[in-house]
Assembly symmetry: C2
Homo-oligomer: 353 residues x 2
């Protein structure tokens, strides 16, 4: 399928673009009334597991906004599910594991999944979505980083401190590394399958990287991120991969050196400083504070202008610095997207003149 | 009262010390059985408001461990209480406001407190504690930074995203600045009162600074921190002040330039990098991952050695990078304290030789 809009792929490869591409983390989600209408009938993971529904939800923001990419509707925790763990999505609380890993003894409970059969529904959803996108924009596939998956599997839910998961860093480091390696193995097969199903770009979400100090990041997060990037690169050298290690402000250079095409920034990062750390050949993604979407459109537009100026015209994928909130106003998301397109076109034309 | 151990005051002023002083954030708290025994009878804020109980709890870790400072048992949210807000401490959930500030209209609900009468119980607790400490170690007084207090007052409780509070950054910036200024005014009087009651050192906790991007920190956090430091400095030039802006990895230099004697680091910060940013004349505090206390004592000791080497022998107050957890083993806290003392004495002796 020929893509009519490949701006995000060009930006991911740090090639020149006529305007900055934009998408939003959690762009398909509860802030959209059409999503809430659908979700009132089906449970979250039922939507993920039903290709027809997952494709429909994936396309909702694409039908509504001139976004430059779709991202397959799914959740990073489908991988722990494939390893045999039960997870429910509880409204207002997020994911809840029925039986988190209380101790390393319980690692024996985990199965070695056959990815094609355990997660084949994601491949089906991707195929269906690509068909319906009909080349309008690229489709992003994704997975959670091993550390973030392990943190959920041990903690059992989101947490302010992740103290159970962090206790393994110091009490059970070898067993934790073993778990991370198993998760990396599955994640590599899972991303590979997503590419074969039609994903054009990948993102690895290390949402809880910021719970780690620099030394623990180096030991417990970076090695599997490096390995995932390397093995996907060997199998699919042309597919760009984005990494988002939220809160790991100290790791930008390491992530760039790991071979990721794009390093995604949370909203606490200064884009100019980040550019210094990743060098000229790695693209950056981000990074407006998602809470900015509570502001009036003219405030959003002014901040988009500042953001675009800070990132510069080449090697930037515009995004928020984290996922959208369920109480965001869709019109403000639209104002954000329009502002990125209009202002970046203006700035890039000026820079070229 | 002459202090028998003033190591922490000397370290805060970046003077040479024979061994590195150490205390722990939340060193008085639920991880101690003697605290749980007392709290089973009294509510959290009852303990804060009852000088006899607050003094007893403050002294519990001092009786048990060779700590180099006590910190008055209280909570940053006594200031919002003094402004007329109801806050309860709910076990397993943390603070919960009965009626958070839903909109700027509700700012009119807040009263202008007379600090001496509204918070006099803290001064009484400090006086009683100083008397009972009898010069053994200095006593730390503290308050919350205006941004962190405002975040709780708007959000109503701790939160993973603080999305209501962050919406004010962009929807109601002027009203938020007004609230921050009022909180700063009260905080200055409150800290002043604590010094007059006998506190030897102060710490300002900006626990939710990390929810702010660099620009929002500069507008909504830094100005009141600067003003608090300046006004306390004018009234009490000899009392060192520590600032802990958790997660504000981009702000270390600004905090040093604001005149704080000590910049406290969370566990995601590299001590050597932090030293470069604050310069040679500002002390640093921290910063082992609190989760390290789940490890065995020999693991704790090895990490303490690395930490002490990274901070160097001058201008360092050893601490964790955040508060202790309720499920920490007191013996491991003891191992941490002993390791700081023994290893720092060894390293400082070697450096002097």
């Amino acid at each position: 399928m020929t893509l009519q809009n490949d701006l995000i792929l060009r930006a991911a490869r740090s090639e020149a673009v006529p305007r900055t591409p934009v998408w939003m983390m959690r762009q398909a989600g509860r802030y959209l009334p059409e999503y809430r209408a659908l979700r009132s009938e089906d449970e979250f993971f039922t939507v993920c597991r039903t290709p027809e529904l997952a494709a429909e939800v994936t396309l909702q923001p694409i039908e509504r906004f001139p976004l430059d990419a779709a991202i397959i509707f799914s959740d990073i925790l489908v991988v722990p599910q494939a390893l045999g763990m039960d997870v429910d999505m509880v409204r207002g609380k997020g994911p809840v594991f029925t039986d988190p890993l209380e101790s390393p003894d319980e690692l024996a409970r985990l199965v070695e999944p056959d990815v094609e059969s355990a997660l084949g529904y994601v491949a089906d959803a991707i195929q269906l979505t690509v068909e319906r996108l009909a080349g309008r924009v690229p489709l992003i596939g994704f997975c959670g980083a091993p550390w973030t998956l392990a943190a959920y599997m041990i903690e059992g839910s989101g947490s302010k401190s992740f103290s159970r998961a962090r206790s393994w860093l110091y009490r059970h480091p070898d067993e934790l590394v073993g778990l991370l390696d198993r998760l990396a193995n599955v994640s590599i097969e899972y991303l590979d399958m997503q590419i074969r199903a039609g994903a054009n770009l990948l993102q690895v979400f290390d949402s809880w990287a910021g719970m780690l100090g620099p030394r623990e990041f180096e030991r417990f997060a970076l090695p599997t991120l490096q390995r995932i990037r390397r093995e996907i690169g060997q199998r699919h050298p042309d597919v760009p991969v984005v990494v988002f290690a939220k809160g790991a402000h100290y790791a930008l250079n390491d992530l760039a050196e790991a071979g990721f095409n794009v390093v995604s920034l949370d909203w606490t990062m200064d884009p100019r400083q980040a550019r210094k750390e990743v060098g000229p050949n790695v693209a950056l993604q981000g990074n407006l504070d998602p809470a900015l979407l509570y502001a009036e459109p003219e405030v959003i537009r002014a901040r988009v202008r500042d953001m675009l100026a800070a990132f510069g015209p080449v090697g930037h994928i515009a995004n928020l610095g984290h996922g959208m909130h369920p109480d965001h106003n869709p019109d403000h998301a639209g104002a954000f997207i329009d502002a990125v397109h209009e202002v970046s076109e203006e700035l890039i034309a000026v820079a070229a003149a």
